[in-house]
């Protein structure tokens, strides 16, 4: 029997930020085989960040949301298949089986399957008018419902004071709707922000007319005779009337296909810093991953930067190169006219320093653990943010006093 080298063919499951990035990085890296990008939505690749903001506010056309024009992908020899759901991965046969029963062969496989919003396991949680926001169609449905609420003068209730919930709340206020945000924890964005910044964001939302309920305990959705949500009931018996409920209580990685195929998963598809799964022919990138760090711990990130950087690493890995993603994580959130930019991971911080003027609305909060700078959260202070990424990349820490002293030039630490 003659040995025939299979024609190289890479299949990418997921046509979001990570999938597109991986496809383009494969081409940029010189890969000349077939690339097939599978998306389960009817839309081609689009920008997700505007969904909770300008898209939801109805300030954008669908064409403005396009991440890459389909003809550009075609020009790069990337075959995009929308409305295509993968049923299973067969590692032995090196195929993916599609929902329509057909099989696609691969020599390299990329998992960029993203994440799914967690559902609220409460009575009435699946009533009409209760939404989670993940994709374009979710955001469009929420926008339609908001229009109905405006027409019928019904209020909006947001469950979860995280980034998605607060961005939706800000957008709903911008549309003039009464908004209540229910957060189970004692403060907003408690897993990410320093207490002082949580308080600042609470005040920002209150000053824009949002009613905040911290430590909220929800018992059920009240459902009207028409099957639509009518209100949110708290355990103390309070009912908050609602024509629209948006649930933003986090996401779970889409690792089902990987898990069923026997790849190592632990609340996400486990990858090394170069994006490799437990099968060297298969890489993963973006929200679906749990990245194994040098100390053995697993890091789950949901961000554009994570998707693009892991996408580049994953492409390199399939081309036989090591391109570890070790850069400082960064994130952002737009609420009202304030831009929050975060660098680093604040988990474990035990003291904080504020640089700038919190009342003026342009400042940064520096998170420290002992002497070490862990993270910096900047509000409308991009310069601090960019400098923080450099400091954290270089492993340099100002003292808390230096961080708080605007007369001290933080760039001098990088010299």
């Amino acid at each position: 029997m003659t040995s025939v080298t299979a024609t190289a063919s890479i299949v990418i499951i997921g046509a979001g930020q990570a999938g597109v990035q991986t496809a383009e990085a494969l081409r940029a890296g010189g890969f000349e085989g077939a690339i097939t990008l599978l998306g389960d939505e009817p839309h081609g690749p689009y920008h997700r960040p505007p969904l909770s903001k300008t898209w939801l506010a109805g300030e954008m056309d669908a064409a403005q949301l396009v991440m890459r024009a389909p003809e550009m992908l075609a020009r790069k020899g990337i075959t995009l298949r929308t409305d295509t759901t993968v049923a299973a991965i067969d590692r032995a046969a090196q195929t993916v089986r599609l929902a329509d029963g057909s099989a696609l062969p691969w020599t390299g496989l990329v998992l960029a399957t993203g994440a799914m919003p967690r559902r609220l396991p409460l009575p009435g949680g699946d009533a009409s008018g209760v939404f989670a926001l993940r994709g374009r169609d979710d955001a469009s449905a929420i926008a339609d419902r908001m229009a109905l609420c405006i027409e019928q003068q019904q209020p909006v209730v947001v469950i979860g004071g995280g980034f998605i919930g607060l961005e939706v709340a800000a957008t709903a206020r911008k549309k003039g709707l009464p908004v209540t945000v229910l957060e189970a924890a004692p403060r907003l964005l408690g897993r990410v922000l320093a207490p002082t910044l949580s308080d600042w964001y609470a005040e920002l939302h209150r000053s824009h007319g949002v009613q905040l309920v911290l430590g909220a305990q929800i018992s059920a959705m009240d459902v009207g005779t028409d099957g639509a949500v009518a209100g949110v009931r708290l355990v103390d018996g309070t009912v908050l009337p609602a024509g629209l409920v948006v649930v933003g209580i986090g996401v779970a990685a889409n690792d089902q296909l990987a898990r069923a195929a026997g790849l190592e998963c632990d609340r996400g598809i486990v990858v090394d810093t170069c994006g490799r799964t437990s099968d060297a022919r298969i890489v993963a990138a973006g929200d679906c991953t749990a990245r194994r760090l040098a100390d053995g711990s697993l890091l789950r990130l949901e961000s554009v930067q994570n998707a693009t950087e892991q996408g580049k690493s994953a492409a390199a890995a399939l081309l036989g190169q090591d391109r570890p993603f070790t850069a400082t994580p960064w994130f952002w959130s737009d609420q009202y006219d304030k831009k929050l930019q975060m660098a680093g991971l604040s988990t474990g911080a035990d003291h904080w320093a504020v640089r700038g003027d919190m009342t003026a609305g342009s400042f940064s909060v520096y998170h420290f653990k002992g002497e070490r700078l862990l993270a910096v959260d900047s509000v409308s202070a991009s310069k601090d943010h960019l400098q923080a990424r450099k400091l954290l990349d270089a492993g340099k820490s100002p003292t808390p006093a230096q961080a708080a002293d605007t007369a001290f030039d933080l760039a001098s630490l990088l010299a």
């Binding site: 920008h47 024009a69 550009m72 020009r75 693009t308 737009d334 831009k339 960019l386």
Partner: protein, 107 residues
Amino acid sequence: MAHITFIEASGQSTTVNLADGWSLMQGATANGVDGILGECGGSCACATCHCYVDEARLGDLPPASAGELEMLENVAAERRPNSRLACQLKASAALEGLIVHLPETQE
């Protein structure tokens, strides 16, 4: 509406007719212009839609905000006096005929 011409580092030139309010980043990515990434979707958060605008037309553009100027410090290619972020430039009649050069790299 404004006709905007994007010239990629390779020399490839594309002219698109953008409706008012569209950002140049949106116009480029929706029309198959390579060389602009716009990873953050137009939030002025990633500095991957760096472009060089025709110097003679700089005066026709609204000045960069403080946030844009700060993000411009983080562009991958050389920052020049005519560097702007394409997501912050919105099409209007004032931009008719604008020529925009794209850098070699955005990341």
